[in-house]
Amino acid sequence: MWFPRLASDRVLRRQAVDGPFALTLRLDNTERVHCLNRQAEAEGLYRGMPFSEARAFCPTLRGAPADPARDAVMLETLRRWATKYCPWVGMEGADGLVLDITGAAHLWGDEPAMLADMQLRLDRAGFEARIGLADTRGAAWALARHGGGITAPGAGLAALASLPVAGLRLDEATVIALKRLGLRTIGALATAPRAPLARRFGAGLLLRLDQAAGLQPEPVTPLADPPRHAVRLTLPDPIGLTSDVMAGTARLLQELCLRLKAQEVGARVLRLTLRRVDQASCQVELRLASAMRDPARILPLFARGVEEVDAGFGIDQLRLEATQVDPLPVQQIGQAAEAPDRRDNLITRIGTRIGLDNIRRFLPADSHIPERSFVMMPAAGTKTCGDWQVPRPRPRPLLLFPPEPIVAQGTLPPTSFRWRRMRLTTARATGPERIAPEWWVEDDGPCSGLRDYWRIETHQGRRLWLFHMPQKPGWFVQGEFA
């Protein structure tokens, strides 16, 4: 099954264009034509030509950038669709599928009926497809690319005799060399003596020929379906009560958690999509502090989100998907792992209200600038690490705030100053402790540069951490000791 215009068909399915259309891909610093529709090909354009040249040939040509990643996703979708015909469906290059329909054709009557059904459905979906059916994978490839149709069982190479040698999946240089030798069709190639061919072109050519003839085996490798962590519940009558939605969610969770358990993963982010009868849908997203797959523990966490949903005229479909999963091996039941579980539960519950990223913990950072000596990371998913008990030559304040300027002169700490509308008099000053800036960090803030830190004890009791900047004279309060 070959899709000659997969990329442009994908784009045109979304937005039909009446007239020549091309997808462009930037190659070698030039926009080149990547895929064309039928009208554009009728204008004489071809793949790989520069887009500006194509515009010159055909002024009405419309273009759009190509997206190979989404084409691959589209082909994967088509592959999933094709499993309705037979279970053995594999990829064939970037724009083809290969189906092993052995033992499946009779379900559609016979082989031509099955092919007609495929062709009809693909046409309806807006995809141009060429389908070839033959005894071997190689022969089917040749038929799909060059003509299409069905060969009689056991026909072998005879059915391909009139097709050009390019149908044998050869590289371009080999095809041109064969044409120069006068071997234009597969039939001519098959009757030529094998030994000189092998000597001239290597074993690859004969391998392809034998694969097309069925003398060499070439199995179809079906791709395994990636695990999908989503379940759906469709209701005959719309529901609107919170308790009903929760009951439906409970049923979905049971099934989803069984699936997660089978794959030994746990959900980190769950999304519950509630589709209403008026086709609108609302989503409840639940982010968990740790990977979980216990329905009884997850269900109460949904309660808050579900309560906020506006059911409108009723909800008739529920879909629950684990959008992010983490490995969670099956564990021995015991007492040991209970405490972190309870803490993660609490983090999740608070996180559903204030946002999971707002619950943080301190992690040490490798810097001697006070405000950069630690980072605050979300507590969910991070492990505690690092040692805070490093010996420090001088005490550090308990509270740290952005530097607050005070009015003071000179390099020695002021004997009295005003800070936060309080007049403070210095009783004892300890210092200075010079902290040099990190020259490898770009910092254009007002407090970049050398700092001389002083610990100031005041008669009023407050113990403050002041610094003076010798390079840009000024005094700042940055912290307060216990």
Binding site: I354, N358, A427
Partner: protein, 196 residues
Amino acid sequence: MSTTTNIPPSLLPARVHEVCGPAATGFAAVACAQGKGDLLWLREDWQAGMLDPAGLSAFCDPARILVARTKNQTDTLAAAEEALRDGVVALVVIEITRPLDLREGRRLQLAAKAGRSTGLCLIPEGAGSPATETRWHCAPVFDPAEPTDSTLMRWEIIKNKSGTIGAWHVRWNRAAHRLDVVSPVGQRPGSSAAGG
């Protein structure tokens, strides 16, 4: 000044307490040091300034602390109630920015009772709630005797539901990891400065 006993009473578990004054954070740090297990520290995200884990490490291990930043006080109280009721964290420190009313204070007390965990509200001066178990006023005191790294503070109970009030001069002993009660500065021999 009426010093009733030699040592300040420790915070009654399963209750919510309040502390105000300039050294309230120091009081909370000492309270953090006295328990085991995780701690939750709730504050609103617009508030400037943060605990410095380097300074806090003199009191307790900063890895034990979970800091939750909330949008407003309603969220703070909801998270505090959730944490207190769950009881998995030993101490919940709540930074209060507007006074609690009767209902909010009572709900926190009930949550603490249900979860058997302790709550500590850092309140602005004069913004106490009637439901609190104890209310402390803490202020740092200049210590002429200790030349380096003194943490001399004056702790005063200004409200106590199940005991008497009193005041103490305390200092955190970082080497021994405990609280030392010292006599007030003014009553010490050879000192000229007045305490408090």
